[in-house]
């Protein structure tokens, strides 16, 4: 019974994360065109639109964004898998021990 | 409480003075550390810019770690720490006694290291002796406060030699940063004293936080 809840929970979370991935991929928008502008206010106090940056600061952003999101998913997924794996291992041992105690066969 | 701390300190000093084993080995290690840096970083007779402050504090940190390990290893071997804890003494007082011993060891190392680093890296440590002393003492107290606590905790743990730096260095990063920044500022010909005062204030605040936390947690950490 407990194991079913674990797998169900894991499955729902996995679907959730898969939905997140799908949404972020489909939500990518093209970069707005840059125009040369005077120096912007400090980015530490407020966020500034990219159109106000000088052209030499333009870097392709998409690979950075995708890697960032990809890393988040991979990390969260990986962690979920790791905990799931450890949990099934421990639960397997618990069940084995409990049945052994019940049968009274363990030396 | 003070009496007990003083007794613990006197005991440590007495034992140490008999052989001076920890003192000599730690000081020698500190000196070799600095020499290593000198060989590695001095190019064509010129040391790196502002390198002296960093090297001094790294040598202090490494020598401190070694000294901490050796001091508590000695305690472990004769199970004296256990005996101390069983005595009807205030636990925090024991901590304070050991802390003062470690501070004494580190200050002795610094007395040796400062002229050595100054000489090897052409750093004018004599410019502001009072402030330099303030920086060194407050930094040492912060480092030693955390170090003594963790070393005492680790006495009965496995892999204690490796775990001490693992535990100690991340926590003492603010102390080292403040110490290095303050020392670097003091070594400049036109150093801003207000900045140095700020770093010393930060160091003192860190000292208070660390010593308070250590005193508070020493008892539960040392009980089985």
């Amino acid at each position: 019974m407990v194991k079913r809840t674990e797998t169900r929970r894991g499955a729902v979370l996995s679907v959730l994360l898969a939905v997140f991935i799908g949404i972020s991929v489909s939500a990518q928008q093209p970069q707005p065109q840059p125009q040369p502008q005077p120096a912007p206010p400090a980015a530490t106090d407020e966020f500034v639109p990219i159109s106000q940056l000088p052209p030499q600061d333009q870097l392709p952003a998409a690979p950075l964004l995708i890697s960032a999101y990809a890393f988040v998913w991979v990390a969260l997924f990986g962690y979920l898998l790791s905990v799931g794996r450890r949990l099934t291992k421990v639960q397997g041992e618990v069940q084995r021990l409990e049945s052994d105690i019940a049968k009274g066969t363990r030396t | 409480m003070i009496r007990i701390a003083w007794l613990v300190l006197k005991k440590d000093l007495t034992v140490e003075v008999r052989s001076l084993e920890i003192a000599y080995t730690t000081l020698f290690f500190a000196v070799s550390c600095v020499l290593f840096f000198a060989f590695a970083l001095v190019k064509e007779g010129k040391p790196p810019e502002d390198g002296a402050a960093g090297i001094l504090w790294i040598a202090i940190a490494f020598a401190g770690t070694l000294g901490l390990g050796r001091t508590f290893e000695r305690e472990r071997q004769s199970e004296t720490l256990r005996a101390l804890l069983m005595a009807p003494a205030d636990r925090p007082a024991i901590y304070v006694g050991k802390l003062l011993g470690i501070i004494a060891l580190l200050l002795a190392a610094e007395v040796l290291l400062v002229p050595l680093v100054g000489f090897l890296f052409q750093a004018p440590f004599q410019l502001h002796p009072f402030w330099l002393a303030a920086v060194l003492v407050s930094g040492t107290i912060g480092f030693a406060a955390v170090g003594t606590l963790f070393s005492a905790m680790l006495v009965r743990a496995r892999s204690r030699d490796v775990l001490l730096p693992v535990l100690l260095y991340p926590i003492t990063v603010p102390v080292i940063i403040a110490g290095v920044r303050a020392t670097a500022e003091l070594l400049k010909a036109d150093g801003e004293m207000a900045l140095v005062r700020f770093w010393v204030a930060l160091l003192l605040a860190l000292d208070v936080v660390f010593v308070t936390l250590a005193l508070w947690t020493f008892e539960p950490l040392m009980t089985d």
């Binding site: 169900r8 | 991340p170 926590i171 603010p174 950490l221």
Partner: protein, 213 residues
């Protein structure tokens, strides 16, 4: 179980993320990392605080439940700290031109992350009594958290100040807080799952002990 209910809430919340992504046309694409970076950082600090409080309660109260909670929180601190420390530089590469800068916020965050790692190392390799050792470490680590948060306001740093979040325009603000709640729910779920693992381990230990009698 309440967890199933929480799951459902997160699932229902997912489609609204589509709405969120629409609003970022005014900023560069890379700024969208913010919606993952900032909540991760908050979860990282939250984990560190939970670990610290649980450690204190364990040290002074001896409750094994608090110890399990502290262990779980430390692992989550490593996880969310890693996410923060990777998404940050990826954003910084475009926003600041460098992958990393040794300013206060970044340095103290990295240091806090290392403390979380050290906690896990001590638990794994410290031998008997390592639970208390790690608890002591966690307390010092928790002392670092308020420093990380306020450091950007009191030092000259390249990292945005805390004044950015309250002054966000409405659409970005909504997106951020939505993302924040998603991460918070995820954090709570993961924490409960991880504590469950610790409880199972404790049960296993108890069984082995019972067998030995």
């Amino acid at each position: 179980m309440p967890l199933a209910g929480l799951n459902a809430v997160m699932f229902a919340a997912a489609p609204f993320i589509i709405a969120r992504a629409d609003y970022e046309a005014t900023m560069g694409l890379v700024q969208k990392i913010f919606y993952y970076h900032m909540p991760s950082a908050s979860m990282f600090l939250l984990s560190a605080v939970i670990c610290g409080i649980a450690s204190a309660r364990f040290l002074f109260g001896g409750s094994p439940r608090q110890d399990r909670l502290a262990h779980a929180a430390a692992e989550l601190a490593v996880l969310f700290g890693a996410i923060t420390l990777v998404t940050g530089p990826l954003w910084a590469r475009k926003a600041w031109g460098v992958w990393w800068a040794w300013d206060v916020r970044l340095t103290s965050s990295l240091m806090g992350w290392m403390v979380a790692w050290a906690y896990l190392l001590v638990r794994k390799y410290g031998g008997p009594g390592s639970d208390k050792l790690a608890a002591g470490l966690a307390l010092f680590g928790m002392a670092n958290v308020p420093f990380v948060y306020i450091s950007v306001n009191y030092w000259r740093t390249i990292h945005p100040k805390t004044s950015v979040v309250p002054t966000l325009p409405a659409d970005m603000g909504t997106a951020l807080w939505f993302s924040f709640v998603c991460f918070l729910l995820l954090f709570i779920l993961l924490l409960r799952l991880r504590v469950h693992l610790e409880e199972q381990r404790a049960r296993l230990d108890a069984l082995y002990l019972a067998l030995d009698e």
